[in-house]
């Protein structure tokens, strides 16, 4: 069985509790981006700056949490023939709500995320959690699962966003890192840079996984 490399008392205690396991699975062992490789569209498209990555991750996590809670609490009420249609309806509702909320928080942020907010609807991560987990588990468990997966997704997006912004724009969250000037690698903020960065992170994750499997 895979265990986190840090085997201090805190993690060991967490691993024994089933709720913590549900949470940690999304965060690390079954990370939606690095392990399941789900929802690649926003992962590649809106990670050109750290801020975009963070906002996208949080928006997705919010939709995931709310739809998981609702799907789970309605799981005895939704007939199985129309379950997918119902899930999509619920997910689309929360995406629309998120869209309005982001517009109310910052016009600038809404401008830079563009169409990708509406595209959260088709993020397979959210539908897969509704179908595979929320429809079969209690509200509490589904909430934990959504939190774990959401935080895991945000973490993965940030991993890409920070690397791409540092190399592509020479800054982190808009703060310049190199006062003496820095030759920006334009390719890193273009789509190609997204693929390069994702490939490197996947490579790192797989090396880590293999090491852990052999020890």
């Amino acid at each position: 069985m895979n265990k986190p490399t840090d085997k201090s008392g805190f993690f060991a205690a967490l691993e024994d509790s089933p709720s913590a396991d549900t949470f940690l699975r999304g965060l690390w062992k079954d990370n939606p981006v690095f392990v399941q490789v789900l929802g690649m569209c926003p992962v590649l498209a809106v990670t050109n700056t750290s801020m975009n990555a963070l906002a996208m991750g949080l928006a997705t996590a919010f939709v995931l949490l709310m739809s998981n809670v609702l799907v789970s609490s309605l799981r005895h009420f939704i007939p199985k023939q129309v379950r997918i249609a119902s899930y999509i309806l619920i997910i689309a509702t929360f995406v629309t709500i998120t869209d309005y909320a982001i517009m109310a928080i910052s016009v600038e942020l809404h401008k830079s995320l563009g169409a990708f907010i509406s595209l959260i609807v088709v993020n397979c991560l959210i539908l897969s959690r509704a179908e595979a987990f929320a429809s079969k588990n209690t509200v509490g468990q589904s909430m934990l699962d959504a939190l774990g997966m959401g935080v895991g997704f945000t973490f993965a997006l940030l991993c890409l966003g920070v690397v791409r912004e540092v190399l592509g724009s020479g800054s982190v969250f808009g703060f310049g890192l190199f006062p003496d000037g820095f030759q920006n690698w334009i390719v890193m903020i273009l789509p190609a840079g997204g693929f390069f960065t994702l490939a490197i992170w996947l490579l790192l994750f797989n090396i880590l996984k293999q090491k852990r499997a052999t020890t």
């Binding site: 109310a104 016009v107 273009l190």
Partner: protein, 234 residues
């Protein structure tokens, strides 16, 4: 006889089942609609305020020295204070300095770039008969290439004093704004393009050229009639 006996209960079960499906879908649909309506109504005033603020900031950027702004629209033969329902293409924003003199007009313009519409706001100063400011409100151009229209200092320098003098007849421009290849600008009404962002910089030039040809003669003629007394307080 036996046939009807076996079919009847199944049919009954089927209708019961579809009723259940119908109720579930309609119920979820209504609940979702209610949630969306509540969010929409709740965020509407904040969103409107944010957008107005963003536009006002842009007006201050394109009209140096402006402290108050007032919106107007062109009704076909005269300018009237903005009511808020007019199409964007008919709107014009007048800017006033602290002492109440007219600093110029801010106008939106739209061009078709490489990856969709480019929406810009430009400032026109009738005293100098020139464009004095330029700001990109919205664009989807390629980062690092087309989006240089937002940041390239040499390109933005074009709009510090781009000549749009009105011709003697008062109905057209002496020289419409035209595009010049990067580094080949010779006249005050030419826009120096960006190497590597030809389509985007051309689109901006065309948007400005079309919009100024229509609006500048009109605004130049009516410039005396804009003063802070007639401005609408929003």
């Amino acid at each position: 006889m036996s046939e009807t006996m076996t079919i009847a209960p199944e049919q009954k079960a089927a209708t019961g089942n579809s009723n259940k499906m119908l109720f579930a879908m309609v119920g979820i649909g209504l609940m979702c609609a209610l949630l969306i309506v509540l969010t929409y109504e709740g965020t509407k005033p904040i969103i409107a305020k944010n957008k107005a603020e963003a536009l006002e900031q842009a007006i201050f950027k394109v009209l140096p020295g402006t402290v108050t702004t007032a919106g107007y629209y062109w009704g076909g033969n005269a300018f009237s204070p903005l009511k808020g329902t007019e199409a964007e293409g008919q709107r014009v924003y007048a800017g006033f300095s602290e002492s109440g003199t007219l600093t110029g007009f801010a106008l939106p313009a739209v061009g078709l770039g490489y990856a969709g519409e480019i929406r810009v706001l430009y400032g026109y100063d009738p005293a100098q008969e020139a464009l004095v400011g330029f700001y990109v409100l919205e664009n989807k151009e390629t980062p690092g290439l087309g989006d240089k229209i937002e940041k390239d200092p040499a390109f933005l320098a074009n709009f510090e004093a781009l000549s749009v003098a009105v011709a003697a007849d008062g109905n057209s421009l002496k020289n419409e704004i035209t595009y010049a290849k990067s580094g080949e600008k010779q006249n005050a009404w030419e826009v120096d393009g960006i190497t590597g962002a030809t389509i985007s910089s051309k689109a901006v030039t065309e948007a400005l050229s079309t919009s100024t040809a229509e609006w500048v003669p009109r605004l130049y003629e009516a410039k005396e009639r804009f003063n802070p007394q007639t401005q609408s307080h929003e």
